[in-house]
């Protein structure tokens, strides 16, 4: 279980990114996930250029054909991964593809 204190401390980074736009620099579709992500696989991860810096993120609500290098994405809030009933639900930034150009 991740520490609730760590989650609380990291929330400010989510706030800085939320709603911002970026472009996909590189992507991969993950078929074999790490523990906690089993229910989401397969899913895409991407390196995203936010203009001032690059970040790593998971893509959500994506259309397969729209995932390409150069596609525009927007930072949204989502549940990060599966947790047990007695854990704090971790929310964080994921990226939604908004345009394939």
């Amino acid at each position: 279980m991740q520490s609730p204190v760590k989650q609380w401390r990291n929330q400010k980074y989510s706030r800085q990114l939320l709603g911002k736009n970026g472009r996909i620099v590189s992507f991969s579709k993950i078929y074999i996930p790490p523990a906690g992500y089993e229910d989401q696989a397969p899913y895409y991860i991407a390196v995203i250029d936010m203009g001032t810096h690059r970040v790593m993120g998971q893509l959500v609500d994506e259309y397969e054909s729209a995932v390409k290098i150069g596609a525009r994405v927007q930072a949204v809030i989502r549940r990060v991964r599966f947790v047990r009933e007695d854990d704090v639900i971790p929310y964080g930034i994921k990226f939604k593809v908004t345009s394939d150009r």
């Binding site: 620099v25 991969s28 579709k29 790490p34 523990a35 906690g36 390196v47 790593m56 290098i69 930034i93």
Partner: protein, 382 residues
């Protein structure tokens, strides 16, 4: 001060369910000591390379753990740098000798991975990445897949060329009795294997393995004729997270570590006869060949595909005679030490079926994380 390698040994690599880490280590240390003609009482310090004993097995304090298991009473250290832990343990052990503090040092690399289920191992390995990468649900195959995707786009590297790395390394491993996978594979088998993290398929990935390797080093080589010595060493680090790098198609830490090692050894990439490079994924060997200066940027895929680094086909440099991480196996803490054991055995001319004829200068390249740390060593026989 010259540091000589007096003894080397490697255990069988593979799924060793009936063997404990202690048993693995005892066996391999006995073998390395016999090779070095030293006894346990002659060892002045122990350096252990390991990454996952804490997160998977709940056991830390590995310096004391293995010293007591071996019956050694001396300073003992654990060195951790993800998949470069073994190479870093060796680097630090050699520093201990060069400083004059220790005469004889035992360097050990060990990892026990197959006791745990794949999702747990994948999560444990992600301890080498950044928080941002863990939150994104990234895995190590996924991170290297991001590099592969970029390399394919920038240099027209193909999936066939990546598969050719696996075919070569399985062939080399078929000549290595201690390798995890001793079965040769075909290009078609590699290309049609299940997708793990696109574009990387099962045969693009090194396996989860158990294994250990040990090396005895010393400033006193008076009892050995023509020992293999360390000619150059370099370590460098980079951003922990992959996204924070300037490029996805080269590991700057590997470039920097190699330059330091070449400069210290006063040799050039074209002088190297045999190299063990960190092929945790097939794209990693392609990038390693370019980062180490063996081939120009963007040309490694084609060269490997053409067999230019394969035993029996190469004109000069042969790469990953052990089978590499891909086919010899990748018990992460053991890998860096095993690479050194392999190159030293080659330079001694004792590699039997996989011997590179006339090998005089060898190189090892060990990478941690997605290139957050790299360590390069160059060896020659005096």
């Amino acid at each position: 001060m010259t540091v000589s390698i007096l003894g080397v040994a490697t255990t069988q690599f593979g799924e060793l369910w009936d063997t404990s880490p202690r048993a693995l280590v005892k066996g391999v240390v006995d073998e390395a000591l016999i090779d070095s003609r030293l006894q346990l009482k002659n060892i002045d310090a122990l350096y252990v390379g390991n990454m996952l004993s804490g997160i998977l097995g709940g056991q830390e304090n590995l310096g004391a753990f293995f010293a007591s298991a071996l019956g050694l009473v001396c300073p003992a250290f654990k060195v951790e740098g993800a998949c470069a832990s073994g190479g870093l343990a060796f680097y630090n052990g050699a520093l201990g000798v060069r400083s004059g503090e220790f005469t004889n040092v035992l360097v050990l690399g060990v990892e026990k991975m197959t006791d745990h289920k794949p999702e747990e191992v994948a999560l444990g390995l992600m301890g080498a990445g950044s928080d941002e990468e863990r939150l994104a649900g990234a895995t190590f195959p996924g991170l290297y897949a991001l590099m592969a995707q970029a390399h394919m786009r920038e240099f027209k590297t193909t999936e066939e060329e990546m598969s050719a790395v696996a075919v070569k390394n399985h062939y080399h491993a078929s000549l290595n009795g201690k390798a995890h996978f001793r079965n040769p594979i075909t290009l078609k088998q590699a290309l049609t294997s299940p997708m793990i993290a696109s574009p990387l398929k099962l045969f693009d990935c090194s396996p989860v393995s158990d294994g250990a390797a040990a090396v005895v080093i010393s400033s006193d080589a008076s009892r050995v004729k023509k020992p293999v010595v360390i000619k150059g060493a370099g370590v460098a680090s980079d951003s922990l997270g992959l996204a924070q790098r300037n490029t996805l198609t080269s590991l700057q830490a590997a470039v920097d570590a190699a330059q330091k090692a070449y400069k210290q050894a006063q040799v050039a990439p074209c002088d190297i006869d045999v190299a063990e490079v960190h092929d945790c994924f097939t794209i990693a060997e392609i990038m390693a060949m370019e980062d180490l200066g063996f081939l120009a940027k963007g040309e490694a895929g084609q060269a490997i595909f053409a067999g230019k680094t394969t035993l029996g086909k190469s004109q000069k440099l042969v790469v990953n005679t052990s089978g590499g991480l891909k086919a010899c196996g990748h018990p992460v803490g053991a890998t860096g030490v095993k690479q050194i054991a392999e190159v030293v055995t080659q330079l001694r001319g004792k590699s039997e079926k996989k011997q590179v004829a006339g090998a005089k200068i060898g190189l090892t390249h060990n990478v941690g994380g997605t290139g957050a740390v790299a360590v390069v060593h160059i060896f020659a026989r005096e």
